[in-house]
């Protein structure tokens, strides 16, 4: 089985967001970029487990991004994986990202494509299903467990108010979340090995985005917390009813 893992670079949750150019763009200076946690902890690690178990022969990593995403993809390679592909393009539109990945993947005969349930920056969760549509294959989203036997995938996934177990034939795109695998930390050997693993750069034919971010806004500062004494819970309930109007 040949597996492709979609890796995206995102700002770390702990970095402060600063806007510039009249709120039209986000200041990138000072932002710490990380691998999207769902891609790293769940999709990538599960793919590596398949390789270790002899279920996968090859694990490829793919990212759509400029040269500044290379440290992140090297870090992903340090966890494992045979090679990485970087599609050298800007993309802030899932249609464009999925389009580039599909363009590459369609000639590679991947049996399984794993991605994260969403990125922590824009939280679309759209690249996976779009990719499946472009490759004309099935997609199962929000997986909490992924198992493969032969050409059949058994996937536990989140549903409204519960979980269900689905089966589907490969090839398949699956988006992963907590439960699929346990996060790993790269070791020294992995970091050394990653330095010499192939990282292929591809210049794609440009795809026109269908959306753009017109501008950003920072949420209004909280007015400040109103403290209520611990023995005045009737007052809290009254405030929640009369002032906040939530009960």
């Amino acid at each position: 089985m040949k597996v492709l893992v979609c890796i995206s670079q995102v700002p770390d949750t702990v970095t402060k967001i600063v806007l510039k150019d009249n709120n039209k763009t986000v200041e990138e200076n000072g932002i710490t970029f990380i691998i999207n946690p769902y891609d790293e902890w769940y999709a990538l690690v599960r793919a590596l487990e398949f390789k270790e178990a002899g279920i996968a022969d090859a694990v490829h990593l793919i990212t759509v991004g400029r040269a500044n995403t290379e440290p992140v993809i090297r870090k992903a390679l340090a966890l494992g994986g045979d090679e990485a592909i970087r599609i050298d393009a800007d993309s802030n539109d899932p249609y464009v990202t999925a389009g580039y990945i599909a363009e590459y993947a369609k000639n590679e005969a991947y049996d399984l494509v794993l991605c994260g349930k969403e990125t922590i920056d824009y939280a679309n969760g759209a690249v996976g299903p779009m990719l499946a549509e472009l490759l004309d294959i099935d997609f199962i989203g929000f997986a909490t467990a992924v198992n493969i036997a032969g050409t059949i995938a058994t996937v536990k996934r989140e549903i409204d108010g519960g979980e269900e177990t689905d089966t589907a034939s490969l090839p398949l795109v699956i988006s992963c979340q907590k439960g699929v695998a346990e996060a790993r930390i790269p070791n020294m050997r992995g970091i050394m090995a990653a330095r010499t693993k192939p990282l292929k750069t591809i210049s794609p034919t440009a795809i026109e985005p269908l959306t753009t971010v017109a501008h950003y806004e920072l949420p209004p500062a909280k007015a400040g917390v109103k403290l209520i004494a611990p023995d005045q819970m009737d007052e809290l309930v009254n405030l929640l009813h009369a002032e906040a109007k939530v009960i």
Partner: protein, 325 residues
């Protein structure tokens, strides 16, 4: 021409969040000088569909195929694409939930339509088609302009109060030519957590952290939740320690909630936790440490011991509810 909106149901009962989606689609339709058409599939009673008229749907396109009681994303994609072409729809609305998110992106690809997920506002059409959404784990809002001719919008549940009006919808059957591959995913078993309110859709949430000390104290969280009609949630270490099931964990690596009220008991308010809850309209924090970072993100704070405060709050809610009746 009409704006189409995908409607979800639970065993024939249309979900509240789908009523929100219908209302939202009707509002967009009105701005465009047209009407909204609701798409209903599976086993749903006529009265349920007629009720959609009260939320602004002028028409219901119904497809009564029992296989559609389950999420067959590719079948639903074909339904929406068929309906969108038939109706000449400029905008397609679905929910930003586990179902909508498996379907709407596929529809967007087929129609070459720009997609905006997690919509929090009605589109501003004064200069393009601009929709507000949360970005960077709640640390900013992005205003996304959809530049394609056809647009797909995924509405975040619980973003607009539901207003029941008076209207009627005509119900018509929709014919769709399915392909075998549309039903390629087989559901083997369903594990419905019954009796609980799904966390992602909940209007009220009571959540506990490590300050609750252990699973034996969760009766305090559940007692308050029951009194309020709220769903329960927890911080990550609580789920990691198996005090609570994993699906309750909210934050950067867990679920995201946007309830009207989020009550956090014994949670410190780490940024990774806030990432999943900062969209809540009102936040109440109960913590014995006045320096806990969560107080900075809270609307109301109680500095005190959860073991004492929670029972008192539950009592107060009970008293309040009794007065309401």
């Amino acid at each position: 021409m009409s704006v189409i909106v995908l409607v979800e149901h639970t065993e024939g009962t249309i979900k509240k969040k789908s009523l929100e989606a219908v209302q939202y689609a009707a509002d967009i339709a009105k701005k465009l000088g047209t009407t909204a058409t609701a798409i209903v599939a599976g086993n749903v009673a006529e009265s349920e569909m007629q009720n959609l008229g009260n939320y602004g749907a002028a028409k219901v396109l119904y497809i009564g195929d029992n296989r559609l009681n389950q999420l067959h994303a590719r079948a639903f994609t074909r339904i929406l694409v068929t309906a969108a072409r038939q109706e000449g729809s400029p905008v397609i609305v679905a929910l930003h939930d586990v179902n909508g998110r498996a379907i709407a992106p596929r529809v967007a690809v087929q129609l070459k339509a720009g997609l905006v997920s997690g919509a929090l506002s009605s589109p501003d059409m004064s200069d393009g088609f601009v929709v507000k959404k949360s970005a960077f784990s709640g640390k900013a809002f992005a205003f996304v302009n959809v530049t394609s001719q056809v647009k797909v919008v995924m509405l975040a549940p619980n973003s607009f109060p539901l207003v029941k009006g008076e209207g009627s919808a005509v119900i018509e059957n929709l014919t769709v030519a399915f392909d075998e591959k549309d039903f390629g995913v087989t559901v083997q078993s369903v594990d419905q957590i019954t009796g609980e309110i799904p966390l992602s859709d909940a209007e009220l949430v009571v959540s506990g952290g490590r300050g609750m000390k252990g699973p034996e104290n969760w009766g305090l969280i559940e007692g308050l939740a029951k009194e309020l009609g709220a769903a329960t949630a927890c911080s990550r270490p609580v789920a990691d320690a198996h005090w609570r099931p994993h699906h309750e964990h909210v934050g950067q690596t867990g679920g995201t909630v946007r309830p009207n009220l989020y009550i956090a008991a014994g949670i410190s308010g780490a940024i990774q936790h806030l990432a999943g809850v900062s969209g809540s309209k009102t936040i109440v924090v109960i913590n014995k440490d006045p320096e806990a970072p969560f107080f900075k993100a809270a609307n109301y704070g109680v500095v005190g011991d959860v073991m004492e405060v929670l029972p008192r709050l539950t009592e107060a809610v009970k008293k309040f509810k009794a007065q309401q009746h």
